[in-house]
Amino acid sequence: MSKDNQILEEFTSKEYEHGWSVNYEADEAPIGLNEEIIRWISAKKEEPEWLLEWRLKAFRTWKTMEEPEWANIHYPKVDFQKLRYYSAPKQTKKPKSLNEVDPELLAIYERLGISLNEQKRLQGIAVDAVLDSVSVATTFKDTLGKLGIIFCSFSEAVKEHPELVKKYLGSVVPMTDNYYAALNSAVFSDGSFCYIPKGVRCPMELSTYFRINAANTGQFERTLIVAEDESYVSYLEGCTAPQRDENQLHAAVVEIYAAAHAEVKYSTVQNWFPGDKEGKGGIYNFVTKRGICAGDHSKISWTQVETGSAVTWKYPSCILKGDNSVGEFYSVAVTNNMQQADTGTKMIHIGKNTKSRIVSKGISAGKSQNSYRGQVQVMKRATNARNFSQCDSLLMGDRCGAHTFPYIDIQNPTAKVEHEATTSKIGEDQIFYCNQRGIDTEDAVALIVNGYAKEVLNQLPMEFAVEAQKLLALTLEGSVG
């Protein structure tokens, strides 16, 4: 075995840090999926009739759809009848404020390093914490409320702001958009809702923290962000799950609506359980994320740091409908051991002078497979559309794979589309150079990888950039020399 491989071997042996689970009493739906279950979930959540109808419609469509197979991922088929579609920690009554939330639940988040206690929270970040199927707490609601900002769990939004939910739900990702989006539309349990009124700059980072705890439970959350004219919000999503032998399904939908001159930044640090070294267990992460720049001069920016999950299927996209609107996608996707990721973006240019920028940095180690799949589409009336794509792959060792699938479709001759791609190997030379200056191999890898991903990490809010850097290092611990 070469030295490269040997050190790689050591590095990849790192264990998942958030692999614990907690026993709490749960309110669960029976296992299986049918109209009864959907009615059960809807009733449990005391939903209005229109929403139940919406779910049932999605379910009926889903039943006619086929699981997509075009992605470069291979996994045993999910048996949707063997899953549980709803599991919520039992709380005797609905908490009205943070003080009423079961301390045991708060403790789960404390253990993850996320304090829901507003005093202890770092200033400038409001959190909505989602455990299995429901939101357990949202912080800083009052502070935000004074500005007219709505930040709450999805269920609460359905009750308190039904007109907004009804107007925007499914407006960006139609319920029948794709297989997983249809499934999510049928069974989604909770998630976050965020509304920024006209002219308001949200003064703090809004953040949702998703945690899967229960076994055999799918997590199907739904996030809806609406930014009215001239508003601004930066939103962050983080996720972890316990270590289990069985694969668990996560199929979320995120919709973003940006009106004229609005700007939404959506950042994800995804750290779902990736499975063990042999590829046992781990989360199947099948997510649909899409934003629409509906108004002129609006901007949506996706930043993702993907380190976890056994299988990732995810393409955060932008529909650039407004003239002069801007879409951005910054991604670092790391795969190690047996992980598989097929991720990328779609930029759909509809309005005039629309611009998009794609920066994708793939890092593969172990025996993992890492694919970038990106589509740039310029419609007929999108004069002067601009796209720049940069897709880089970094390989560690010689048993992993990196793949790039760019699709370009241009229907307007004034478009300018640039695509650059590179593939490199982390060099023994680089590591030795670091060693020679006194830096040990683990830190050398961290340094090199973070340098490689810098352009993306720079997009994250400061505090999360630091966390993401650590996470990258941790994921690759033991993987190169």
Partner: protein, 253 residues
């Protein structure tokens, strides 16, 4: 400070170093010269701990410790510094960030507190003057897009920051313009003390006008075949290596 005894090393089974003996004392400057491919860089790499070179025989004692037993990073932390003949580029990592990581790991190894940002930056400023290196260069990605001369100058800047006990400069002079050669040599000379030592690998006598060696060694086919004082370098400059090659090759026949 450094004792090399009968050092043999090979790459993929091919012997390259074939019995090196060398004694370097604190305060000394040793120059190593020799034709291309004679094993100079290999010797430097073996001392620094590059793993593709397999040591098959011999020993290296550095300040009383078995150098060959140590991991490359520990050798560095013990005070061995190699200015690379071909410095490596690390995209996205600034020299500043790189050096701060390096310096603090070295300090940690030595039981010292890490330097805070303020102290680190003032140390950088001080050392930057020594090799007249531009701040702009240091905020760029390490060695990426640096000119040949800039890379070499940056190596000496790193040396100044890390204050090694034993510095090995592998052809630091090649690629430097005349002014840079003077500046870099000045830097090296100012870092010299009676507690540290320097090994300079070079092809050109000219460098030795600036960094004056106590000893000059000629490496040929993996052995030190001739040693002398700085006059030997002048002789080599004038006559080339043929006469030494002949001496050696006829003796071994």
């Amino acid at each position: 400070m450094l004792t090399i005894k009968n050092l043999h090393a090979s790459v993929d089974g091919t012997p390259i170093l074939r019995g090196i003996n060398l004694e370097v004392k604190a305060g000394e400057v040793h120059a190593i010269m020799g034709p291309n491919g004679s094993g100079k860089s290999t010797l430097a790499s073996v001392l620094a701990g590059r793993e593709e070179y397999e040591v098959t025989e011999g020993e290296v004692i550095f300040q009383g410790k078995d150098l060959l037993e140590m991991a490359p990073e520990d050798r560095a932390r013990e005070g061995v510094f190699l200015a690379f003949q071909y410095p490596v580029e690390i995209p996205g990592v600034s020299s500043t960030n790189f050096l701060r990581t390096a310096l603090n790991q070295v300090r940690e190894y030595r039981g010292q507190e890490p330097l805070d940002a303020v102290k680190f930056l003032s140390l950088m400023k001080e050392k930057m003057k020594l090799v007249e290196i531009d701040q702009k260069l240091l905020s760029r990605s390490l060695n990426e897009g640096f000119s040949g001369g800039e890379k070499k100058r940056n190596e000496i800047f790193q040396m100044a920051m890390l204050e090694p006990t034993l510095s090995i400069l592998d052809e630091t002079d090649s690629g430097l313009d005349i002014d840079a050669l003077r500046i870099v040599s000045n830097g090296v000379n100012q870092l010299k003390s009676d507690k540290n030592a320097t090994i300079v690998v070079t092809h050109y006598q000219r460098l030795l006008d600036y960094i004056v060696p106590d000893y000059v060694h000629v490496l040929y086919k993996g052995r030190i075949v001739k040693s002398g004082t700085k006059e030997l370098a002048l002789e080599l400059e004038e006559k080339g290596y043929d006469w030494i090659k002949e001496e050696v090759d006829s003796a071994t026949v």
